[in-house]
Structure formats: structure tokens, C-alpha cells
């Protein structure tokens, strides 16, 4: 087992990893940029090393500085968290070539599964259902037009290297398709240095259901059931829950089994999440794999009782999974809401600044993962999430009540947050009935005026 681990991340996920390490009695080194200097969670690490100025490119994304910090911190492994370099195969490779283990998959399987077009191809080979679309990358406008006509509009143009909703365009006709191809490709080129795109049939008003996977380096692969993340705005998740509501048991079992099949076929180990779209007929289609731990991982932790970060660390250290599929029981229901420092009344514009009041909820079945506190200054340089509020209860109805109670207790002043919108969502009848899809937020709260 590792003696010392470095966390190549910040904020709540850095704190999450620090906590797992402390419980495993592993020493932990944190890194910070000048924008994060003085953040209270840094004091919970054994050592904290400043790696650069605020901008992520010069700190949390800067491989030489991170590796230098790992070397002077004398660590055996690095946990990349989520975002930043967590899905950067080159970083994983550099770590290992410097004899520092990367807590995540091998760089080869990360490359294979992390590239959307490659993952799609692998899924097709493994006979995992995929969204109808192009076999591989789009090589010409003519090919795209021909395919779109064959599948039928609307279609979705997707960047192979994309993530976080970027590099995607919906097209309802030829003209939109042609302009969409160019703009999606350009956006992907500039954001991910890879402008390649592929085409999918656009599934209207789908649900987003994803499956949590854990696999060790000995070939054991298990699923930890599903999460429904249909509540999104501009492809950013706001609310996640488990189990997925109103999903027939056989569909649920099938989605989970297909996810395991795909990850096994890729020879992948560590944590992963396989994402699927479910249409109104409960047919499901694989869309992509996230080759890292995710923001919403605590939802699964609450309904399975399994600590995903600890398992990631154990897997990286070469240990076998301490459970088999039949040991993984899904119990109860859980919701997570993401609390962002954004103003939902002003187009979600970021609201950095000093938190003057921070009262978090507590009591039975409430979990708050946050690095913020009263007096904390939310820096403008990074994503705006300041807390994750989770609830756990014996069933969904009770979990809904608990989340309403917890959201009412949550008091924040000094910055704007998405709490008011979340409170409304948890009073919305369609959401309460579990009848939402990925267009719900925008349709309900931010309808486009024609």
C-alpha cells in the first residue's frame, strides 16, 4: 500500500481524497495555486506545496510543476481527482515513467475508452447498444449529409475528444448540419486540440442514466448500480439520484450488465462511469465512458456503502476487489445537488467572492462535501461548485422530503448560489414523479422566447 499520496487537484475533491487517505493512514500531500493559498482544507494534509499562480494552466494543469511537487513531496502515487488532468493519458504516462503511480486506469485504456469515437467503436464490437450514427469519424461533409438523411434528422454532431458538453451541435437540416460540423470541429480543436467529429442520431428528450464501475488489476470488474443524472443545464449536471426512478428492473439490470461488458472488453481497471441515454420506450444506448472518479460518486457510496475513493487507491496499489458482484447490494435512495457559486437569475453568471454566512444542513441522512466555510473567498479562476449536498433515505419519497428539509436549512450569504433553483426543482411535480429528461431544466425554467 502507498505510504504517501499527492492530490493533484483542489477544492472539495481534494478534501475528499485527503479524508480517504487519513482513514487509510496514508500520508497525503496537497498542492495549491496562489489563488488557493490559505484554503482551510490544505491544513488537513500532511504537507501542502505551492505549485504556481492562479491560472490552472500554470498550476493544476501544469505537468512539470505537479511532478516536481510529487518528487519533493516524496510520494508513491498521485490521485488526479476529476477534471484537470484526471483524463489526460499523457499525464498518467508521465507519472508512471517517473515511478509515481497514477491512481486511475492505464494510459492505453484511458486513451481507448476516453476517446468517444473509439469507445463507440469498441461498444459496437462488444455488441453493446449504441446510438445509431457514424461508424467512425466523419471524413467529409457529403458523408455526413448522406448519413443524416439515412438516419433521419435531427442529428447530433459530437467531438471525439470532447467533454463537458463542448464540441456538440444539434442539426435539424442540411444547412444546420454543414455549419454545425464546422463550428463543433473548431470548438473541439481549440478546447481539446482535436477537431475530429462523429455523428449520432439525436435522441429527443432522453434520460441520462450512468453506471458506476470498479475494476481491479486482476480482471475483476463489478458495477455499483446506476445513477440518473437527467437534470442538466447546458450539459452540466445539477441533480443526480440513485436508483434511477421509473426504470423497469430488467432494463436496469441490462444497462448495468452492458456497462460491465464494455469496460471488461477494454481491459480497463480503476473507477469508471458508463453513460447511457434512455429513450421514452426505455431503450438504452451507450454514449461514452468517463475514465475517472466523478463529481457525483457519493450518490453511489450512500446507496451501496462502498467508499469509491478508497477502492480506487486499493486498486492502484494492486489489491483485489474485496467484494464480488453479488456482494454489492443497492439499498435505499439518494439524491445529490450541486451547489454552485452562480446566480440562476442572471444566466448563471459566476459569483466569486467572500462567503459571509455559511450554514450547512445536518442531521440524519445528510452528507455535505464541501471545502467552503464562513469567510472563505471563492476564487474566480476555477469552476464554480462550492458544495455537494447529498441525502440518503430508505426510499425515494423520503429522500425527497429530506432534501427539501436540507435545502431549507442551507443558508449562504455573500455569494449567489444555485440553492434557490434547487429548492424549486424539489417542489416540481414532474421531478417528484421522476418524469424528467435532459431538456427539463431549460424547458421549465429557462424557456427560449421565440
Amino acid at each position: 500500500m502507498f505510504q504517501r499520496i499527492m492530490v493533484a487537484n483542489r477544492g472539495e475533491i481534494a478534501l475528499r481524497i485527503i479524508r480517504a487517505c487519513r482513514e487509510m493512514e496514508i500520508e497525503v500531500v496537497a498542492v495549491y495555486s496562489e489563488a488557493d493559498r490559505g484554503a482551510p482544507y490544505l491544513a488537513l494534509a500532511n504537507q501542502a506545496i505551492c505549485i504556481g499562480p492562479g491560472p490552472a494552466a500554470e498550476s493544476y494543469l501544469n505537468i512539470p510543476r505537479l511532478i516536481s511537487a510529487a518528487e519533493i513531496g516524496d510520494v508513491q502515487a498521485i490521485h488526479p481527482g476529476y477534471g484537470f488532468l484526471s483524463e489526460n493519458a499523457h499525464f498518467a504516462e508521465v507519472c508512471r515513467s517517473c515511478k509515481i503511480e497514477f491512481i486511475g486506469p492505464s494510459h492505453e485504456s484511458m486513451r481507448r475508452l476516453g476517446n468517444k469515437s473509439e469507445a463507440r467503436k469498441l461498444a459496437m464490437e462488444a455488441k453493446v447498444p449504441v446510438v445509431p450514427g457514424s461508424e467512425g469519424l466523419i471524413t467529409s461533409e457529403e458523408q455526413a449529409v448522406e448519413l443524416a438523411h439515412r438516419m433521419g434528422f435531427p442529428v447530433l454532431i459530437k467531438a471525439s475528444a470532447g467533454g463537458g458538453g463542448r464540441g456538440m451541435r444539434v442539426a435539424h437540416n442540411d444547412i444546420a448540419l454543414k455549419t454545425g460540423l464546422t463550428s463543433a470541429s473548431q470548438e473541439a480543436e481549440s478546447a481539446f486540440k482535436d477537431g475530429s467529429v462523429y455523428l449520432e442520431k439525436y435522441i429527443e428528450q432522453p434520460r441520462h442514466v450512468e453506471v458506476q464501475i470498479l475494476a481491479d488489476q486482476h480482471g475483476n470488474t463489478v458495477h455499483l448500480w446506476e445513477r440518473d443524472c437527467s437534470l442538466q443545464r447546458r450539459h452540466q449536471k445539477l441533480v443526480e439520484e440513485s436508483p434511477a426512478p421509473n426504470l423497469p428492473a430488467e432494463v436496469r439490470e441490462a444497462i448495468c450488465a452492458e456497462a460491465v461488458k464494455l469496460v471488461k472488453a477494454a481491459g480497463y481497471y480503476s473507477a469508471a462511469t458508463c453513460e447511457f441515454l434512455v429513450d421514452k420506450y426505455n431503450k438504452f444506448y451507450f454514449i461514452e465512458v468517463n475514465t475517472r472518479i466523478q463529481v457525483e460518486h457519493p450518490v453511489t457510496e450512500l446507496v451501496t456503502g462502498i467508499d469509491l475513493i478508497k477502492e480506487q487507491i486499493r486498486i492502484a496499489a494492486g489489491e483485489k476487489l474485496p467484494f464480488t458482484q453479488k456482494d454489492i447490494i443497492h439499498k435505499g435512495a439518494s439524491f445529490e445537488v450541486r451547489i454552485n457559486a452562480e446566480d440562476p437569475n442572471h444566466n448563471f453568471r459566476p459569483s466569486p467572492g467572500t462567503i459571509t454566512k455559511w450554514t450547512v444542513p445536518g442531521g440524519p441522512g445528510v452528507r455535505v462535501d464541501t471545502h467552503a466555510s464562513t469567510g472563505y473567498k471563492v476564487p474566480p479562476n476555477y469552476d464554480s461548485m462550492v458544495a455537494k449536498l447529498l441525502v440518503y433515505a430508505p426510499d425515494r419519497a423520503q429522500a425527497l422530503v429530506r432534501m427539501r428539509r436540507a435545502l431549507a436549512e442551507f443558508q449562504v450569504e455573500g455569494i449567489a448560489t444555485t440553492i434557490p433553483l434547487l429548492r424549486e426543482i424539489f417542489r416540481n411535480s414532474a421531478f417528484i414523479e421522476g418524469k424528467v429528461d435532459t431538456t427539463f431544466i431549460e424547458r421549465t425554467y429557462y424557456p427560449k422566447k421565440d
Binding site: A43, R65, S68, E71, I72
Partner: protein
């Protein structure tokens, strides 16, 4: 690999101290103070205080199950302590800071500058080398005049030895880091008097 520590537990001194002093090998809490001194007995605490003074240790923390003892010397530069109480025994939480273990460099917060001194800071985390090769003359010594392109040290990061230039004109008045010491981004390495 250079280990950063401005506390006693990871440096050479405690081991040497243990050879000199006869501290009990496996301290156990004991009701009888003289027969088998434990970590929480006055005798042991007195010994520890003496040890700290002798070896210029800033802080010692011992834990035995759920009981723990922390001794801090007044007047020593101590980096921020974690708010989280039960830290692992003897491994002291610390931050990479400008306070080094070797004798030559001085601790930073002591004397306020009489006139405005310029600071040369590390542009990256890494390991500080005062000279080109072991045994050769240091790049910068107190009193040395530097220009913006003068090389003042090497910071090694990921096996790349980066020559660090002064980027200021003046005279080196303070060297805050010791040879082979780990440094972090933004850490002050030298202070330069621009007047000369």
C-alpha cells in the same frame, strides 16, 4: 531525494539524540513515575524539553493510542498547524516553507527590512541547488553583485536543471534556502539590495 522538514522527527538529530540519552524504548503510560517513565510523565516531558533545546527542535508531538502530547518551543518559526487533532504519531504535519533546517540560511520572519529589498522567488516547485556541481563554488553568495541575467541558483524539476536568473540588479544580502532543499512555487530564495 531531498526531504523537507523543519521539525525534528524526520531529520538526523533525534536518532543521534537517542543514542546519547537513555529514553525508554517503548514508552507506556504508567502510574508509577520513576520505574517505567511513559511519554506523559514529568520526567519524560523534561527530557523532551531538553532535547528540543539542545537540537533546536521547534515542536514534538507524541501519541499513544488516544492520548497525545504536543510540545512547542516559544519563539521558533512554526508553520500553520492543522486544525484536525489526531494526526499520525511523530509524523508532524508541515508545510514547505522558507524556514530551512541547515545552519547557514536564516529564518525569514525575524527582522523587518530596513530598506526595500528585492526578492528572487522560485518559479517552480523543485529542489534548490546552490552550485553547478557538487564541490564547485556557489552561484551566489552574500555580497555578490547580480544583474538580471546572473545565474543565482539551479532549481531541479523533473530531472531538468533550470538555471534561475536574478532578473534584478543589486547585491545579494540574504540567502534563505539551503543546498538541496525542496522549494515551492513563489518561495523566496534570495533578498537583493538594489541600492548597491
Amino acid at each position: 531525494m531531498a526531504k523537507q522538514s523543519n521539525r525534528g522527527s524526520k531529520s538526523q538529530e533525534p536518532q543521534e539524540a537517542e543514542e546519547k540519552k537513555s529514553l525508554p524504548e517503548k514508552p507506556k503510560p504508567s502510574s508509577s513515575p520513576t520505574s517505567n517513565p511513559g511519554p506523559f510523565d514529568v520526567e519524560t516531558v523534561r527530557d523532551l524539553v531538553h532535547l528540543m533545546k539542545e537540537h533546536e527542535l521547534a515542536e514534538i508531538e507524541l501519541a499513544d493510542g488516544s492520548r497525545s502530547l504536543k510540545l512547542k518551543r516559544a519563539g521558533s518559526a512554526v508553520a500553520a498547524q492543522p486544525a484536525y487533532a489526531p494526526a499520525p504519531p511523530v509524523h508532524l504535519p508541515h508545510h514547505v516553507s522558507a524556514a530551512p533546517p541547515t545552519p547557514a540560511p536564516r529564518e525569514t520572519p525575524a527582522a523587518p527590512a530596513a530598506r526595500a529589498l528585492l526578492e528572487i522567488k522560485s518559479p517552480t516547485p523543485g529542489t534548490f541547488y546552490a552550485q553547478d556541481k557538487p564541490g564547485s563554488k556557489p552561484f551566489a553568495e552574500v555580497g555578490k553583485k547580480v544583474t538580471p541575467t546572473s545565474v543565482v541558483c539551479i532549481i531541479e524539476a523533473m530531472k531538468i536543471f533550470n538555471e534561475i536568473q536574478a532578473e534584478v540588479t543589486g547585491t545579494i544580502v540574504e540567502i534563505l534556502v539551503g543546498d538541496k532543499q525542496p522549494v515551492e512555487y513563489g518561495q523566496v530564495l534570495f533578498r537583493v539590495d538594489p541600492a548597491n
